[in-house]
Subunit: 465 residues, 2 copies
């Protein structure tokens, strides 16, 4: 199939998906879990074959160790595969958002307007070596009634194909009840080449949303090469600010967590901002804890001086972890055990730094002062604003969304960790009895609009669609 045929058949599948029921979607999800279990050995064999090839790439220096780690679908004791299966159940358990009425208004007697949640339509998901994303996204797409076109990293090609084949087989073999719209087989499709992606990025006629999950350069390339809305983030430049009244224990625990818990993640803290009043009392112990955890500190002149004065980096092996920060360090996602440190003279200076250098992802303030916290949280322009918590909490699972399609730094549609809701939109249903706009307004025999809210309680029962 050409890319255009893939896109057109995804659109056709999307049209059919408008009338499948929640029960049907749930049956497909349960069947997917079943087929994945049945094909477990084959899928793991495909993954091992991908890993062997990747191992050679790592040895040749063509592939990073962290990318290699993400490729594995099995886990030491099979726990990654178990998590993958669990993920199907998790999505199945999320309440179906489709068909929910979010606004109901009587415009006039006999003229009722309803705003009803519906799928976005066709999603193009492009991801790098994390094959479990195939299952994750396919399940989220199915649950939300979207058609999905998936393109994984070439390192995981065999695994991706094995997973996608299992999903397609599950869709095709889910029993259809009499009178039901059959679940469209093309609801989940896979493409494998970069050329196909470039063609699909042009097809705003068929594709409604693009979800890139991967490196900054991947996301930026996609953002620069499509008119289709992109849900995701290029950079995750998160900051933590130590305010004048920061509690020492909270500062150490949250900053070390935010930097070291998973440094490659987009929600890791990359910049530490320090109020000058707590340079010795809070920053120095935080820096000592970071250095002990193996973090390289890129310190501005004032924080560098504080580290030196405190003598916490005397040991040559520790001294080797301390650098003078450059301007570039403050707009950079290290994705590693590195942190940039800047001293500020006020809360507002910290806020300004974040609003001009950050990536609107997630930023935290460590303070005992509620007024400062609230000022920071309102003024910082980011998807997540945290008070006394690690930036690492910015995650769909931790937020309790059941599953995550991505983390968005957009300012429209979906922001922050996005779950099923990010794949939905709404449409307006108007029920009339033959009215025209001409019937309303000023003049004899004209009607006035009522604009009465219809209570949403039980509206779903009355409004069976």
């Amino acid at each position: 199939m050409t890319a255009e045929q893939v896109a057109r058949s995804a659109r056709e599948a999307s049209n059919l998906l408008q009338t499948v029921t929640s029960a049907q979607k749930s049956a497909v999800l349960r069947r997917i879990k079943q087929v994945l279990e049945e094909r477990r050995e084959d899928i793991i064999a495909a993954n091992r074959s991908d890993k062997e090839a990747a191992q050679k790439e790592v040895e040749a220096g063509h592939l990073s160790g962290s990318l290699f780690k993400r490729l594995d679908i099995e886990g030491a004791g099979g726990e990654k595969f178990a998590t993958l299966l669990q993920g199907v159940d998790d999505v199945d358990r999320i309440p179906d958002p489709i068909g929910q009425v979010t606004m109901a208004r009587r415009l006039d007697d006999g003229l009722d307007l309803y705003r009803v949640v519906c799928p976005v339509g066709v999603c193009l998901v492009i991801f790098e070596a994390r094959p479990e994303v195939v299952v994750n996204i396919a399940c989220l797409a199915i649950k939300s009634g979207n058609a999905a076109i998936l393109k994984g990293g070439k390192e995981a090609n065999q695994t991706n194909n094995a997973l996608a084949a299992a999903i397609q087989h599950a869709i095709a073999t889910t029993p259809v009840q009499e009178g039901q719209t059959p679940f469209p087989e093309r609801a989940v499709q896979v493409v494998s080449t970069r050329d196909e992606i470039n063609s699909l990025l042009d097809m705003d006629r068929y594709v409604d949303i693009v979800i890139p999950r991967g490196s900054n350069s991947l996301v930026r390339h996609i953002q620069n090469n499509t008119r289709i809305p992109v849900l995701g983030h290029a950079d995750g430049i998160c900051s933590t600010y130590l305010d004048t009244s920061a509690d020492l224990h909270k500062a150490i625990h949250t900053v070390v967590d935010a930097k070291t818990h998973y440094p490659a993640a987009c929600n890791s803290t990359e910049t530490l901002l320090v109020n000058n009043t707590v340079l010795e009392s809070v920053f120095v112990p935080v820096a000592a804890a970071l250095l002990k955890a193996g973090v390289r500190i890129h310190a501005d002149s004032r924080s560098l001086k504080a580290i030196e004065s405190a003598g916490i980096a005397k040991d040559p092996s520790i001294a080797a972890q301390v650098f003078a920060a450059t301007d570039k360090d403050f707009g950079h996602e290290f994705t590693d055990l590195d942190i940039a440190v800047r001293v500020v003279d006020s809360l507002d200076e910290a806020i300004d730094h974040i609003n001009s250098h950050g990536s609107k992802h997630t930023d935290a303030i460590i303070t005992e002062d509620r007024a400062s916290a609230e000022w920071f949280m309102r003024r910082v322009d980011a998807a997540g604003v945290y008070w006394n918590a690690s930036t690492r909490f910015a995650d769909g699972f931790r937020y309790g969304f059941g599953a995550e399609i991505g983390v968005s730094t957009n300012k429209t549609h979906a922001r922050g960790p996005a779950g099923l809701e990010g794949l939905t939109i709404y449409k307006y249903y108007l029920f009339g009895n033959g009215q025209g706009a001409v019937d309303y307004g000023v003049g004899e025999g004209k009607h006035n609009f009522l604009h009465e809210d219809i209570p949403l309680d039980n509206v779903r029962d009355k409004f069976v669609l």
Copy 2:
């Protein structure tokens, strides 16, 4: 100021707008109305001067009559200016969406997550000769806490400048209470050249959303030349479908209304789809009514034959209104008294036609059969799906939104007539007491997430931001 300075100062204004109160926004709106009233004569004089210049352009054939009509801000008895003032009150009266908590969840004891509505940020609004848009958008931006950069049509330059100057004066002269953030003067700015727009369309660093209101070519140019999300619509290709059980009176009234009430509007019906079973019984009388109203019918072969057989276009002056349709007529927004007609053999064929030829704006079915209506409404992929009502109802005022920033055919963020909500997004506030992600998971001393919903009733009172 350069375009970059305008954009940067809009961003700075947007940051300050995060902490202005509802009362402040309301005070600014009331002051705007006051200044507009005070400056009424000056504004109308500027508008007359614009109209005189435009009249010459119309005479020279450089400007269309409908564009000229939209330029007027006064109205025959001053009623357009009165509507403009009324519009300020209308926006003031809409409940403030900012600060609303739309989700609240206890992740753990002492770790609470809130999703709070906030402004999108900086909006760039580009519109053509409808100067009242300056006031409309400025008020919506202020009410929703957004900074706005406005660019109007050059035909309305003097009017736009007079209105913008009044708004800026109102902002600058609204009294500030002690302890309040001053309302930023650069919350509303105006630019006047196309070069500035082209520069601004590149500044996704500062501008969060672009709202074009104008011709297809204006909107398409913008969509093709920016990475910033665009809210609006290029085409308004709406269809009305006459189903097998269409009621004759409802069909005539809604179709004539949808075509003739305001043919230049985006929500006018451009395509009439007719089930072959009602060709004589319903379509012929509808066609007769359309012809009588001066509509030119572009009919496919079967509907053309029905018109001829029925003899409703025998009169030569009426016959001149009937044309054989070309393929192009079905993907075209006439914005005039023209309608394309196609006969279909089934409900699904009508749905397929709309999904492949329409612009996802608003589509109607005329039928007495609820099952057909619901099938149509679910399957048609459009912002508005109507049963027995004119497509002309697709409008923020008719929907009761108080005011409209535009009509969106996007599949993400805002869809259909968009009011204040289209200018808002949310951010996640997390309140902790020093937790790290490492504290959660499997293992000794680790916590489990609670993920308990916090009831939203009264959450706003507890959560004073």
